[in-house]
Symmetry: C2
Subunit: 376 residues, 2 copies
């Protein structure tokens, strides 16, 4: 039985890192992709499928869960793991990002944010202390500090103000979290697309000696090159022996390029959301099953996959399900997509261990570029 | 390898019958409930779950499948079993019922029906011969004659006209179906709520020596007592050694009472549709998971069930999923409901074999009447 949260670097290849996070509820092989289970469910998936495709950890959204079913209720029901039947590690965000993007009548002060639920308009308050309290009620294994994330493009003064506020909130979250050996609270680097602000944020957070560090406020509208520049600037400022989590990222290509810059953890709604919109991620790139070219195609998405959704169902059937808006279409494509993302992470981990990251990343990228099978 | 379609009566208890249909693709234990797989998918279910809960046969809707993906396309793709990954028996309806209820600009003549698709308005023609041709293209194991089903209440003249037309169409379907030893074409008794018309229809169809007989035009708006009266009148007119299928029925209570009158096969969208609307069928009756009483209830729907959906998930979680309109809510409740329906059929079959049908049916009915668990 592992009692303490810990991170081990097992191998590096250039800046790419192969590691392992250990904690009482399990281990997380890094680089890791965390499927998003917004409201206590990874949409259209059974949890045993999520586990089956190779996920070590899922993400829960504090904002959604605090509104419905409510953090205190989840706690009474035994915590999020018990509630959602996922006994493995769970990371929760702080709720801040969605308060800013989804809620109504927001008011932000030094103390925190007041807002109204986008579901029923009822009033809530979120402070750094309340965010940590809620994440604790959810029994979250990896908790995130409350931060203020600025959408890009934004004014430099505004980015700096939000970044500095986030640093002060990190201190308050650290205090609120206290000493929980089996769990972790991560700080979040902010600073928008302004290099000196990213450096300032990363250095100040590093000085707090947290158990892990997220990089937030990226993939919020800026070009990929800007995001990668910010990683190039930020990662060297973060401690080597702590996990680094790039929040809300991203496409398979974003992931490859971010791993190359030293990122260990990712989460993104893309594979699940795309699965509900008829899109399949595969080693041959992204395939739109709505396209008429699939209507008579008896071939599976990927005959070499070990995921039944990719291997056993014809494109013609998937096309039909998507066109007919059948639940099974979303179920199968989400399954395929999460399977593909987890396979990608496994390839990445194997490549780093083998000291072949760049070469194998190039092969993967070529596969996407070559594109889908020619029509029959 | 079974080569011929056949039906064996294994036991009777009063009018209740325990039988078995055999055909090349498998056997069907009767009384049987057929989950509805309208458009080549039992909504929100994986086919291995449908099989896993105990279904021997599913139903496909000819009207939906002819419009999308199209019967000729399904044939090119290897038939409906291959397309939908259900290698076991499939029954298809004739398409007539949905042409009458869903399509636009219908025109009915002695020859057949012309109509326009409710999806895209494109024109179609359906005749007895074309219905059988389509069902053949789908590779359907049990095909239904084209009939005209009259919604109740209706004028006696109108009911009689539709019934007589359905008889003439039965002859044409029989000719079109021809000699297919491994498959079956069933006739459909019509006649609305008028006893002499039901008798006339059943006798005329019996004289055609078909492989099975459906009773149609019930559960279309009339009280349950009227439906049961029609069964009391119709069943004795049908040959003992052929299966009897009550189309589109029904609630668990409808099923118990219809088995008691000699019905062998059922289909209904209730368990699947209810599952998408937050309703669970259980041995304690129908439970509405939207109800606030479940919000904090850690108990499963039925701790004694062997269906994971019934046994492993808390009512609180199901309530949350339903309230949040999460796909998993529909997935779990549909799974629970189909499992419950199949268990009910198994109990019915066991009871008939044991010569205990009335007594056990009373116990089942009492369980429903007793209602759900008291709140915690």
């Amino acid at each position: 039985m592992i009692e303490n949260f810990s991170f081990s670097l097992l191998a590096t290849d250039g800046k790419a890192r192969r590691g392992e996070i250990s904690m009482p509820r399990g281990r997380i092989r890094t680089p890791a992709f965390m499927p998003v289970g917004t409201g206590g469910t990874v949409k259209a998936m059974y949890m045993d499928q999520v586990r089956g495709v190779g996920a070590d950890i899922i993400l829960g959204n504090t904002y959604h869960l605090m509104l419905r079913p409510g953090a205190e209720r989840v706690a009474r029901l035994g915590g999020l793991h018990e509630f959602a039947r996922w006994p493995h590690p769970i990371l929760t965000d702080s709720g801040g990002f969605q308060v800013m993007s989804l809620s109504k009548l927001r008011k932000l002060t030094e103390h925190g944010v007041t807002f109204r639920s986008h579901i029923d308009g009822s009033p809530y308050e979120m402070s750094p202390e309340r965010s940590i309290e809620i994440q604790g009620l959810l029994h979250s294994d990896i908790q995130m500090q409350l931060d203020e994330c600025t959408a890009l493009p934004a004014d430099a003064k505004e980015i700096e103000r939000a970044m500095e506020l986030s640093l002060r909130w990190a201190e308050r979250c650290k205090t609120a979290f206290g000493d929980q050996p089996g769990k972790a609270m991560f700080g979040i680097v902010q600073g928008g697309d302004i290099a000196p602000l990213r450096v300032r944020s990363a250095q100040a957070l590093s000085a707090m000696d947290l158990k892990g560090y997220a990089i937030g406020g990226l993939a919020v509208g800026e070009p990929q090159a800007v995001m990668l520049d910010m990683l190039d600037i930020t990662c060297p400022e973060l401690p080597t022996q702590k996990p680094r989590y790039l929040m809300g990222v991203g496409t398979p290509d974003d992931i490859l390029k971010s791993v190359a810059r030293g990122i260990d953890m990712f989460d993104c709604v893309m594979p699940t959301r795309a699965g509900r919109h008829g899109l399949a991620y595969t080693r041959r790139g992204k395939i739109n099953l709505r396209n008429a070219r699939h209507a008579d195609d008896p071939r599976p998405l990927d005959e070499e996959s070990d995921c039944p959704a990719a291997r056993d169902y014809s494109r013609a059937y998937l096309h039909h399900l998507v066109r007919s808006q059948e639940a099974l279409g979303a179920m199968l494509l989400t399954w395929n997509n999460l399977s593909y993302y987890q396979k990608l992470m496994q390839h990445i981990r194997d490549a780093i261990e083998a000291g072949q990251f760049d070469a194998r990343a190039a092969v993967i990228t070529e596969g996407w570029a070559r594109g889908d099978l020619p029509p029959l």
